[in-house]
Symmetry: C2
Subunit: 101 residues, 2 copies
C-alpha cells in the first residue's frame, strides 16, 4: 500500500491509544486504582470491551491487575510506570478538549 518510513513505535502507540475506549480507560485510571465495575460504570463501555481492553493494556504493560480474594472477589486495575508515562499526553488532550471543543 505504501513505501512509508513511518516510525513503527509511533504507529504502535497510535494503534494502542487509538483503539476505542483505551484513552478513556487510561484517563479513568489516572484517578488511582479502580475495580472492574468502577471503570465500567464511569464510562459508556460494555463489560465485554472493557475486559478486552484491560487485557490488552495489561499485556502491553500499561496496566496491572490485582486480585483480592475477598467475598465477592475484588479485582483492581492500576497504571504501571509505563502507563503513568502517558499522563502528560492524556492531560494534553484533556486541555485541548477544554479549549477547543
Amino acid at each position: 500500500m505504501n513505501e512509508s518510513n513511518l516510525c513503527p513505535r509511533l504507529a504502535k502507540a497510535m494503534d494502542l491509544i487509538g483503539k476505542r475506549w483505551t484513552g478513556l480507560i487510561l484517563y479513568q485510571l489516572l484517578d488511582g486504582p479502580q475495580r472492574f465495575n468502577e471503570i465500567e460504570s464511569s464510562l459508556p463501555v460494555s463489560g465485554r470491551l472493557l475486559s478486552e481492553r484491560l487485557k490488552e493494556l495489561e499485556k502491553e504493560g500499561l496496566v496491572e491487575r490485582k486480585v483480592y480474594s475477598e467475598v465477592p472477589v475484588r479485582v483492581e486495575y492500576s497504571l504501571t510506570d509505563k502507563g503513568w508515562a502517558l499522563e502528560g499526553a492524556i492531560r494534553n488532550i484533556e486541555s485541548w478538549a477544554t479549549s477547543w471543543l
Copy 2:
C-alpha cells in the same frame, strides 16, 4: 449503561483522535500541508478511509482542504489553528512511544 459524569468534551476528543488513522494523519500534517496522495503513501491507510477521515477532520475544523485547479487537480490538506493546538499532545505520544515501546 452508566450514570457517569464523563466530560463530554474529553469523550469527543478521545472519540475523534481515537478513531483509527486519525492520530497518524494529524501527525503527518505536522510536517506541513500535504496533498491527498502524499498522505496516502506515507501511511498504510487506504484511499477510502483517508478520504473519510479527512472529511471528518475538515468538518470538525482541524484540517483545511484547498483545491488547486491545476492539471491534474491538486488538493492540499493542512492543519488549522485548532489542529495545530493538538501538536503538544501528539508530540507527547511520540516521545512516549520512543521511550517505552
